[in-house]
Subunit: 342 residues, 2 copies
């Protein structure tokens, strides 16, 4: 693997001094982009994920327009449970729907730890095709959901404001929950290793629903499995852990061997540094809805945010994925404000 | 107003030493109770809220069964926007639906600050009837939503995982948002004053969606309005502020003059005491889904939680409302574990 020409993102992950922090945006290849919407109208969700030509094109679209410092492979965290024999549908206007959720020991019997090359080969092909398109300009990030977050969808069967059914399984049948979490973890490790083999430069784990758990339950049902993933991958590629709502776990997450931690916008820069013990690289944390503010406000906010986190050991990002209703020129203002920071 | 025979809850609010902490449960008059479900099958949501005989009966149902240390008047935070000329429907299986949400300056023109005695008189009647039924046994709590949380529903028009439309209004038309927040605040103050006049012993403000905002936006769009409410009410009755996901604001909330702060289960007892500066009474914070654990685990958790918070300046509660699928005997184990604490 050769170092990309723009290696700001990799330097920040290693904690090296940089002239300005790198910037990318979670869900940067998304519905706020007209060129993404064109492909979305022609091809359904899983066709876009499973067709390397489409996934790689979608991945590089935002870079052509805005010139972020990193690309993240267009895909979805739910391709993993899909590969594990858990059926996943993406229903327009509704979101993910899993018609046969995992709620009993019998259901668990259906769940397999697959050969990732057989089931997810299209992802690794998309990585290779994307690397060709990037032509060594910026690093490519590969990602996966955390085992806990994948369990949430696999058990609940759809999005939820409290994932009560997922938590019910954990608290009333913990042995079933742990067996499912271990199968997801084993699959995720194989999946991310194969992504690194295919050429991604860095990895990010999305624990989107970690904030549903209290601190002790977080350790039991989420963090111990992310720790297994970091242990298995950290010598192959730098790993970023992003737990939405997981402020209470930042201190433990900082001890996992991860290279960086993502934080959401409820953490002030000062709290984020304090809670993560001040040493690890942090990534975040602009409120995605704040991109609806006037451009002048966005630019001022970005400068204040960088001053708050400090330019080193810091990767500018949103605190969660960009929203579909963000004007393109507001996204541009966000990126430009970082690139002109001095 | 005479002091109820069991005044543990009021003592804890005043920070006095108690033999054991008081206990009640958010949404204790709720769907997990068979006697509540009987009334729910006969009467629709707003009939239950608006009929003092029903609201008072539902309020005392959980006390008959479990003997909590406080009652909370059965009602809903959305009766306030309803009184402000914002139509609110409660759709079975869907939740609140507001067919004409407030999204422009023109929409705002429709919103009134009502005479609460004309529009919400049924609530004050329910307070008086409940006090008769309680016969001075335990204190009665009256509640309202925070202005921010009421704005969330009034603008979004329904529940949401990120209240993107509500935040859009705040960030792109802040003057409209602030005018709406002030109308809600003025109505809420009049509403809570009238509740105190009717005889409630204490008040709680539910900022259910405060955790959607970052710290600066929280101060601007939520806390300053709750501060107005506390200022207007604190000399009339003790006020508890509960902000779900608002760990980052506990320090500022502790300075408002509120008697107590509610915390959710992502705050360990130690973090909650630290973030609230160690002096104010705290209320919470058992994960409602954890009531699905075996009874022996619930009892051990409750003891550990009380030990963690300390028996004084502490009110045992859940970290959010009880879930409909909690077995009655598990709720009983939670209450009993507190009452047998020594």
């Amino acid at each position: 693997m050769t170092t990309p020409k723009n290696d700001l993102y990799l330097k920040a992950l290693r904690g090296e001094t940089v002239s300005r922090p790198p910037v990318w945006m979670m869900r940067q290849a998304g519905r706020y982009l007209p060129e993404f919407m064109e492909l979305r109208e022609k091809y359904d969700f899983f066709t876009r994920c499973q067709t390397p030509e489409l996934a790689s094109e979608i991945t590089v679209q935002p870079l052509r327009r805005f010139g972020m410092d990193a690309a993240i492979l267009f895909s979805d965290i739910l391709v993993v449970p899909q590969a594990m024999n858990i059926e996943v549908e993406m229903r327009p206007g509704f979101g993910p729907y899993l018609p046969n959720p995992i709620r009993t020991k019998e259901d668990l019997g259906r769940v397999v730890v697959p050969d990732v090359h057989e089931t997810l080969g299209y992802v690794f092909d998309a990585v290779k095709m994307t690397l060709e398109k990037l032509d060594n300009s910026v690093p490519l990030i590969g990602f996966a959901g955390s085992p806990w977050t994948i369990l949430c969808y696999s058990v609940q069967g759809q999005g939820s404001k409290n994932f009560d059914l997922a938590k019910s399984l954990c608290f009333s049948q913990p042995e079933v929950a742990h067996a499912l979490l271990q199968k997801i973890t084993d699959t995720t490790i194989a999946y991310l290793k194969a992504k690194v083999d295919a050429g991604v430069h860095a990895l990010q784990i999305f624990d989107s629903w970690g904030g549903m758990l209290g601190p002790e339950d977080y350790n039991e049902f989420s963090l111990q499995y992310m720790r297994q993933i970091v242990d298995a991958l950290k010598d192959l590629a730098p790993v970023t852990l992003f737990g939405k709502g997981c402020w209470f776990a930042l201190s433990d997450m900082a001890e996992t061997g991860a290279s960086a931690l993502g934080v959401d916008w409820t953490c002030s820069p000062r709290n984020a540094r304090y809670l993560s013990k001040g040493k690890i690289t942090l990534q975040g944390n602009y409120d995605p809805a704040r991109l609806l503010s006037p451009v002048s406000r966005i630019k001022a906010d970005v400068r204040q945010m960088i001053d708050g986190f400090g330019k080193d050991r810091y990767i500018v990002n949103l605190g969660h994925g960009i929203l579909p209703n963000i004007p393109v020129e507001h996204a541009k203002a966000f990126i430009d404000a970082v690139k002109s920071y001095h």
